[in-house]
Symmetry: D2
Subunit: 364 residues, 4 copies
């Protein structure tokens, strides 16, 4: 494989997350190019390839992995497939970018880490909040001492339900909104504070609105305690009307900041007639709406994918790794355990024989 | 000169605007590279070149123009030098990106256009608001019919004074805040509406705060009337405390939107201790502040410079041209005339023998 | 008439403004009580009286004026009736609270002032913005020196059309939105600055949206210049979608403030189902809305009416007088003159033989 | 005692809360008048009486209770005195308005309720959030069905420390910020949802910033679960810089609303020079600040006190009762227990022999 030029990328998946990957590489094209896509649903990969101008497409991702020029694979498939695909990609000698959450169990996480280590490829974890420009600015101010010692970090992500049907099925997702979006908040707060040891996890969950569709929770509140005394408060919901919300609050003995990726960046807009596009998951473009601009950029996706490509070339060191994903996985499991017992769970926590994290809250 | 590869750029200037140019090419490096910088103040060009990793530097911009490989020159010098520099660059066969406002007089504007036309080079006008992501989204919604027929567009830019001393000197600037920032609002509103004919200009000006430093106005209110009935209201100030403001409002029979580049994107922040950087012209980083993130990106500078480079390669058609700059110049002159007479001034307006636009308001 | 106890009030009118008066006296009942209402439309006064528990009602306001115990009359009728009613009330020995604008012409204004002076009754001018709590706080900060010398005051009021049909008929209203709401901005800015002499008035008007209903303007921009150098910028519209807007901005050499009575106080709300009431002139209660709380209180109506009652008892001195209304009337006339000529109009301005202010813009 | 006319009120206390009581009765004077004040610190009661024009003052509150014309007493003393004072007032035949939290223990709460019941006087609980206009509007919308079934209510109150020294001393306060302000959030969320049974309480506490001054917690996060499935999330802090924060969020299957009493109502203001008063606990009036207007009104204090006076006259039924205070007390105790054990505590919860709630978290 070449060690210069743009990194050649293959995408596994053809839906929401795969589109974000392809679009991100298109926005910042200088370090990588997508050369192939794989998706099992007949026609999907081909349509995807045409739409994004990708030369090769496959229905079997293993065939794509056999292409010798591909250097990096992004895994944008349902959660229960992450481990299998990552291990196969590693075996084929490809660097891997795996979507969040990393997998279903700690056993899987360890196998993924091990497979990549042995194959000498990078396992990178697609936590875009590490690259979200507004949140990066908050972290920067914290590092410059703006808030003194930070004692509380909050993150929440809320909307009215996932972007794909498979999330409702806990066999494929492993859990509900805490699994889907809690992983962002866990990673974010931990990263923001400089990755101190997580001492305990408390979590409450409920299925308020979507019990007709899923056994998974559609609302969760999670509290982390860190070595050194800081706390994280993480809220996630699939039951929140009115569009997307993704925001943070940071409190230190010397100050505070908050950031809102949606209402806080948007153009407050009223339209009788409607218009093209407001924002992901917006219910309408009529009446008062909150259209965002440069949506992917403001989440940090193009910057994240460019970073991963540069890591493959050795120009940068991975900032979001499989180890991060594993830590998040442990907290997710502890969160479900806490929701099931009504108690704080202390880390390290390694439950045995758990197939799906949600089983720790609601035994199957 | 090559017709492929990255466009080779020379910058004239080494201060605020020149820094923005250099930084912008660094943020989006795929279409252009800065290979030279020229600045008359001894040491400035060299320091600038070192800081941005630019290989060549000159104290005489005419020497830089003699470099055969330079294809595009950006003019980031005081207003009274724009015409001379642009004409010289055109004579040297370089494409020109000229900062706003285009020049001092309509005579100069015509000479600049003529020189570039005859030399077969592009004269591009550095109006970044055409590329400001948030404002572009507003324009897009308008074009999609969100607001129906738009009847009022407002733009304002306000802070506590210009970024360089030469602005206070009307011999070098041609006028005060209306000259410095009114040009943005004029161009923006005209562009937003699809460049309809401007029928009349009304303007009021005053020097409220900085009369000790300048004969120029530090506050202006300008009203434009367009063919078809729409109105623009443009406010600019060098007398506004508390940091930067750059915002728009759009009103149509079917809706409205508004956008604020500073408070409207910022992270509301409180700090006892202070931190590195909040935003251009922020008075402090202690207490409550409004730090922005990715400042240049959110203005659209990197996107603008990338566009200009692509125009040089023929990949795009200039969206901000010398003709735009000339139209803005006519409105600036009409504005000063209106402020001097207390009347609406109808366009076309071509005053004879005016050296500095401000003379139409305050005869020398 | 008694000089103690609650002031006995009669209301002329039974629509929007009359309701505000009755409701205001109900919210703060300690200084006045409404004892009668008069409205010419059959049934209206009776219905109104029943709704607000008012003991007496009349179809002829002159009959109401004959009631000896009534001490104060509020005039909540169309603009063209203000002078006639005020003069009749004064002749009957009643104190008068006249709604805004004061009347149609300066001749009327002078007759009203004269009639009240001769009858020894107070002529009070119902400009509630002098009592709006949020704006009063802004004024207070200004008086305490927060902003140093104030050089610019802005006020705007915008929505999608008047609350009664008679406003569309310039014979009864005298003009459009500038007459209807511009009077607020003129009074407010003048009052905010401490009533300095107004030197000039500039105005632009247009009928952007409602030309099918009215000859009057539905959008206006007005600029006042004050002795001492301050400027006012006043914007009013009946063409603004999305609900009510009433806001101010204040700029001084030492600082600034802004206040928004609607979005700036509201509870940002999303509802799939809708609810009872959001705010005056809100288009819907579904989707995103901006419900306000204690609407009348936040405008200052109850406080204003209580103040007027206390003036009748000699406990306070009128803060909003017929003289204020006359000054506003002069500016309104100058504004229409300016819109008609495209020039600043200098004050004093006393046009002869004008029936309706709008005739100075659009000759009949 | 008379059964008509203004209710005669005696205030116990002369500090922050007592001032709020006196000022509230002054703002809405039609239903009550303060005729006496008692405070043990020599000179305090007299100064207070002079300042508010109160005719009688006492150093011993028992002497004040002996005044036969006093009908209602407000208790604005440190928490550990609430029970004793309430019981004494009841014995003297006075109606009681007791500040929050009701007392220290459930035993005290029961004695207070019992004493008032036996004396035939009202025990009213001064939870002003039931009367906060903006929050009342939110409740109203909820009751009108705006949000459908509400599943999550959040309330938070945060600033940089209590308004009096005695709060730092857990012998007098019983605990830290959860005791001081958590009681607001507990009462509010319970009331907002229509007082459903509280099933469980979870709480985390920490002393992040003020460990040098107090054993009490300066930051708390509390989660309540209600019969029917709704959840409350309550955050309180004495460690938050930048001024006051008091806000709510309400989420239902059909919508949401949020309200902020400070930034959400304020006039965003920048001042180089400073001014008189911004808001309770504001660190400065220079730089960017968030001055509020009609502060007490916007909390609902005058409305609350007027309501209590009307209850004494039988015109209204108490909306905030001793029973409410007792329920809050039970949740406070359960919260400290939870913080001490790391587990959800189920209600009813009646710990035996607890002197100070905080002892359940940090054994003495």
């Amino acid at each position: 494989m070449p060690s210069t030029g743009r990194v050649k990328v293959g995408i596994i998946g053809s839906r929401f997350e795969a589109e974000i990957h392809a679009e991100s590489f298109r926005i910042l094209p200088d370090e990588a190019e997508v050369v192939a896509v794989a998706s099992p649903t007949p026609g999907n990969a081909e349509r995807f390839a045409r739409r994004f101008g990708i030369p090769r497409f496959f229905t079997d991702y293993r065939q794509m992995l056999a292409e010798p020029d591909i250097e990096m694979v992004t895994v944008a498939a349902p959660n229960y497939l992450h481990a299998e695909m990552t291990i196969a990609a590693a075996a084929a000698g490809k660097h891997v970018v795996c979507e969040k959450p990393l997998c279903m169990t700690l056993e899987e996480a360890d196998q993924m880490l091990d497979a990549c280590r042995r194959a000498g490829v990078l396992l990178m974890y697609a936590e875009e909040l590490y690259f979200t420009p507004k949140y990066v600015k908050a972290r920067q101010m914290a590092d410059e001492g703006a808030f003194g010692r930070v004692y509380l970090v909050k993150q929440s992500e809320k909307h009215f339900g996932p972007h794909a049907e498979w999330f409702w099925d806990v066999d494929r997702s492993g859990g509900g909104v805490f699994m889907d979006m809690g992983c962002h908040g866990i990673a974010f707060c931990w990263w923001f504070l400089g990755r101190p040891r997580i001492e305990s996890v408390y979590c409450q969950m409920a299925t308020h609105v979507h019990a007709d569709k899923t056994r998974g929770e559609d609302d969760s509140i999670c509290i982390l305690q860190f070595k050194g005394g800081a706390t994280a408060l993480i809220e996630d919901s699939w039951a929140r009307r009115g569009g997307m919300e993704d925001r943070i609050e940071v409190y230190g003995e010397g100050g505070l900041t908050h950031a809102d990726l949606h209402m806080g960046n948007a153009l407050p807009t009223y339209s009788e007639h409607g218009y093209g596009y407001a924002v992901e998951k917006a219910p309408t473009t009529k009446g008062w709406t909150w259209p965002v601009f440069e949506e992917l950029w403001n989440y940090g996706f193009p910057q994240e994918m460019r970073h991963f490509a540069r890591c493959v070339r050795g120009k940068e060191t991975p900032q979001a790794t499989g180890e991060d994903g594993r830590m998040v996985q442990e907290v997710l499991l502890a969160g479900y355990q806490s929701a099931g017992t009504g108690r704080k769970v202390e880390l390290p926590f390694r439950p045995a024989g758990v197939k799906r994290p949600i089983d720790l809250w609601k035994p199957p």
